[in-house]
């Protein structure tokens, strides 16, 4: 168990370094000079050349890479071209918003998803099942931006219930988190339903029933406990997905999060910022799946014994 954990950890770090290298190379084969983009209409060739040299962008690629890695280890991820501040500082303040958004979205997705999943499984092929599964398929098929725009239109514009954008008030997080969480809710609901239906067919459920436990008791104490295992690991992976995948939601609702920083970095050819945000998102996903594996092995008695 410990050994495999260390193994996984080393693997994660290797993958992360691979990712850094990949992003680094990809971002630098792009046509277009970031300095020129930064200076816009007033750039004259001499100034652009001088500033390119000042920022070390005319150095060979491998030297730039080692310079980046070594300063990254010291916590310095460079200065954003388009926003003029240190990348770490920008990401720091944006990450708070993304984190809150992801937490709210996950809360919505898990509560709604697990609830609907259980109801669907218990009432298999009856109204609640069809209703909830319909919604979950809708959630999976509906592009996030459509859901976001729908919600903005109805609750922000028509009904004036909730703010259209902004995060000064906590109410500003409600619509974005529903938009973001809808898709995950659909997945959780389907997974819960499948897992629960499978466990309900196991022999020990019949045994418990035969012993005279109430149907709800069987459901909660026996079936649910076992069915939740795969759902739980999926949820961990999902949360890291939510953290890194809020790009569109943040764009539609104008939330200052990591995703929007990334979009901005892309449109402004802001290499340090893009590198920083991409790195953060990948790290979150890698360690999220690592955590999921650990969680699974802790919770699942079979894996625990094997390890």
């Amino acid at each position: 168990m410990k050994k495999s954990l260390i193994h996984r950890l080393v693997q994660a770090v290797i993958v992360l370094i691979g990712v850094v290298l990949l992003i680094f190379v990809m971002l630098r084969i792009v046509p277009g000079n970031p300095i020129e983009t930064m200076m816009g209409e007033h750039a004259d060739a001499a100034t652009v050349a001088r500033m390119t040299a000042e920022m070390g962008l005319d150095q060979p690629l491998h030297i730039q890479f080692f310079r980046y890695i070594s300063s990254a280890f010291r916590g310095d991820f460079g200065t954003s071209y388009s926003l003029g501040k240190p990348v770490s500082q920008l990401i720091g303040s944006a990450f708070v918003n993304t984190l809150i958004l992801a937490l709210f979205a996950a809360l919505f997705a898990w509560v709604a998803g697990i609830g609907c999943g259980i109801l669907s499984a218990v009432h298999k092929n009856r109204l609640p099942d069809r209703l909830f599964m319909g919604f979950s398929i809708l959630g999976i098929s509906l592009p996030v931006f459509m859901a976001a725009m729908f919600l903005q239109y109805i609750f922000g514009f028509c009904l004036h219930w909730l703010p259209i954008s902004g995060t000064e008030r906590w109410t500003g997080f409600i619509l974005p988190s529903i938009a973001l969480g809808w898709n995950s809710a659909g997945q959780v609901a389907q997974m819960t339903r499948t897992a629960l239906l499978e466990t309900l067919q196991e022999d020990y459920i019949d045994t418990a029933r035969a012993k005279g436990r109430s149907p709800s008791g069987v459901l909660v104490h026996h079936a649910l406990r076992n069915a939740m295992l795969p759902v739980l690991t999926m949820m961990t992976i999902q949360f890291s997905g939510l953290l890194s995948g809020a790009v569109i939601t943040e764009t539609v609702f104008s939330i200052n999060g990591v995703g929007r920083l990334m979009v901005q970095a892309i449109s402004g050819r802001d290499i340090p910022l893009l590198q920083g945000t991409a790195l953060l998102a990948t790290a979150v996903v890698i360690f999220g799946s690592l955590l999921a594996d650990v969680l699974y092995s802790v919770l699942d008695p079979r894996v625990r014994k094997e390890g």
Partner: protein, 668 residues
């Protein structure tokens, strides 16, 4: 095994029928009671679809039907809900309008089910029903408006918004965050420099016209040869940190721009010795001499009557030498932005918002706005909604499609709209290295094939004006006698034939910057369509901003819709930028073949006599635009703003900048 029993019960026709009946009754009630016909029908259809779904034998089909049905029901409920909310409000407030709407008030006297009762009474009314309906609609309109204004039906949000719209606070939104507060590093982000720092002169509105006025100085004089300016600083001015403003701060501010050697070096370069400071050969400006704390003089390389006007540009902001010198990252930390202006920056959260508050050490008159909150909202449509919701006090309409502006804002009273022409021009630029575009006849045919007036009327809803010259309207030396290209597709075809080109033979690319606003993107598409009609294949290709810039500066871009906004009121700003040297000409993909023009354009700047200079610029304009058709001048737009209920008046920047002087906003 345990689920077998469920599977067999796959359909409840009886239950479905009962529910369907209930649904339809509910729908009918809705239609009759509230008049929401659409909502009622949608509800009925939705319920029916859900029931078909329940009764269906196949699970998948059932799910599909239930999804559609539920969506319809949700829509219906929402549609009716907002209407019901209005009626409830009418019921609550009808007594307020007792005098204006006595008939409606009568219907309130015998309520049996609250607001539903009122509606029943209204529908059953046995008098002059038309009058009642009119009165009812009158209240409805008022309530509708009230609901929109209070912007929320839920109490907690209403209070939250009230807290934000406290007195003397102005809330605006921008599309992009600023990158710096330092004028040496930007030519765009001027809102903070304009309001936090002062300059020796300002361009200010005086009796409805913009004029150059003295700001930090009380007096100045020019020597007879026009080379030396003597300035007297205003006494007793202090920076927001309390230290006094002296002549050395002015010198430091100019030298700093040169030492940074970035975006803004034009103005201090005119001072004698500027070149040397920029190259690092000298530490201080030779042409800048300080007599005492308030008296100093500046000597220029060449006489320039426009020097005071240039000193009013945001680039010539005066900073506190001591603080700026010590600052680790000047332009990034609000604490370092120490100026003598009316505001100080208290907070800057990147990509989110920044806040300016009144500087109580300010020497000038107290402005109406004591606090400005600038929010970064990347989407013009969201800004539009926020303004309508009362979350913004002024909205910049520049980036909204003119059709939306026309539908939403044009019907507002005239004093709610502030507008100023964008001094500048949008034009179609053509690369003379392209095998077809190098032929002047082809370029002129293109000029005749583009229907600029149609573009102005449709895409900009008439809020733009035709430009016929290189030097835009509103700029000194602009020639309003110069003729433009008139739309004449037949003549264009004839000219192409004369040049020896068959139909559809002329091909080139219209390169579009994909970050352009929707109006410009439409202009590209319509130019391509209009050229198609005369047998020219101009295909639109879109590039992201950086690739577009890279392609353009390589000198290989076929053709593009360019836009130039004037930085200061002198024709050199546009003519010299595009035709000042072979390098800059190629850098904008023009590749003008006659190299002698560059020297001529450069020389035009130094002509001392105004009349002669004006003549030379107009002659250059005629040659380049009318004779050689280097580009097709098209239009300049009107920059419009809409003011919210809390704003009394607003005067935008003279050149149509999106940045403005906060002191030009007066709150009610």
């Amino acid at each position: 095994m345990s689920n077998m029993e469920y599977e067999q019960k796959s359909g409840h026709p009886v239950l479905a029928f009962v529910l369907a009946l209930l649904g339809i009754i509910a729908a009918v009630l809705l239609v009759f009671l509230t008049g929401v016909i659409g909502g009622g029908i949608a509800l009925a259809l939705g319920v029916a679809a859900v029931l078909i779904g329940i009764a269906a034998r196949r699970r998948g089909l059932g799910i599909a039907a239930i999804i559609c049905g539920t969506l319809a029901v949700i829509l219906a409920v929402i549609m009716t809900f907002s209407t019901v909310a209005v009626f409830r409000k009418i019921h609550d407030e009808a007594l307020k309008y007792k005098d204006e709407a006595p008939l409606v008030a009568q219907c309130l006297d015998k309520p049996h089910f609250g607001f539903l009762g009122m509606i029943i009474n209204v529908t059953k009314y046995e008098g002059d029903s038309q009058q009642l309906v009119d009165q009812f609609n009158m209240i409805k309109e008022k309530v509708d408006k009230g609901l929109k204004d209070s912007s929320s039906a839920l109490p907690w949000i209403a209070t939250a918004q009230a807290a934000e719209s406290e007195d003397e606070v102005l809330r605006v939104a921008v599309l992009y965050d600023i990158s710096t507060m330092d004028v040496s590093k930007t030519t765009d982000d001027y809102l903070i420099p304009m309001n936090v720092f002062d300059r020796l002169f300002e361009t200010r509105p005086v009796n409805g016209k913009s004029e150059i006025v003295k700001s930090l100085i009380t007096d100045y004089s020019v020597s007879a040869d026009g080379l030396t300016y003597d300035f007297v600083l205003r006494e007793g001015i202090v920076f927001s940190n309390g230290s006094a403003l002296t002549a050395s701060d002015v010198q430091y501010s100019f030298e700093r721009l040169l030492k940074a050697a970035r975006e803004n070096t034009d103005i201090p370069l005119e001072i004698k010795g500027g070149e040397a400071v920029m190259k690092g050969e000298a530490q201080s400006l030779e042409g800048f001499s300080i007599k005492d704390d308030t008296h100093f003089s500046v000597t220029l390389n060449a006489p320039n009557a426009g020097f005071p006007a240039e000193l009013s540009a945001p680039a010539a902001s005066i900073v506190d030498a001591e603080t700026t010198e010590k600052a680790a990252a000047f332009g990034t930390d609000p604490a370092d932005a120490i100026g003598t202006g009316p505001y100080i920056v208290t907070e800057w959260v990147s990509n989110d918002h920044y806040t300016l508050v009144y500087n109580d050490k300010y020497w000038g008159p107290k402005p109406s706005v004591k606090k400005l909150i600038v929010r970064v909202i990347a989407d013009p449509m969201t800004q539009n909604l926020m303004f309508q919701n009362g979350e913004l006090d002024i909205i910049n309409l520049q980036y909204l499609d003119s059709a939306i502006v026309a539908a939403t804002y044009k019907n507002k009273p005239a004093d709610r709209i502030a507008s100023t022409p964008n001094v500048g021009e949008t034009f179609l630029l053509m690369n003379e290295e392209n095998p077809y575009l190098k032929d002047v006849k082809v370029r002129k045919a293109i000029g005749m094939a583009i229907d600029v007036d149609l573009i102005i009327q449709s895409i900009f809803s008439g809020d733009a004006q035709r430009e016929n010259c290189m030097i835009p309207t509103g700029v000194w030396a602009h020639n309003d006698q110069q003729e433009g290209y008139t739309y004449d597709p037949e003549a264009a075809k004839a000219l192409l034939k004369e040049a020896g080109y068959a139909e559809n033979e002329v091909k080139f690319e219209l390169s579009m910057d994909s970050s352009a606003d929707s109006g410009t993107q439409l202009v590209y598409a319509s130019i391509s369509e209009q050229l198609k009609k005369v047998g020219i294949q101009a295909t639109v290709a879109s590039y992201d901003h950086s690739s577009w810039l890279a392609k353009r500066s390589s000198g290989t871009m076929d053709s593009f819709v360019g836009r130039w906004g004037m930085d200061y009121n002198d024709p050199a700003n546009i003519v010299f930028t595009f035709f000042g040297s072979e390098e800059s000409n190629r850098g904008r993909s023009i590749n003008y073949p006659d190299k002698s023009i560059f020297a001529r354009v450069a020389a035009a700047r130094t002509i001392v006599d105004d009349q002669e200079r004006e003549k030379e610029y107009q002659e250059l304009d005629r040659k380049l635009i009318r004779e050689d058709a280097v580009w097709i001048p098209m239009y300049s737009t009107l920059h419009m703003w809409c003011l919210g209920d809390r704003v009394a008046s607003f005067t935008p920047h003279w050149a149509g900048f999106s940045d403005f002087y906060i002191a030009d906003v007066v709150l009610k």
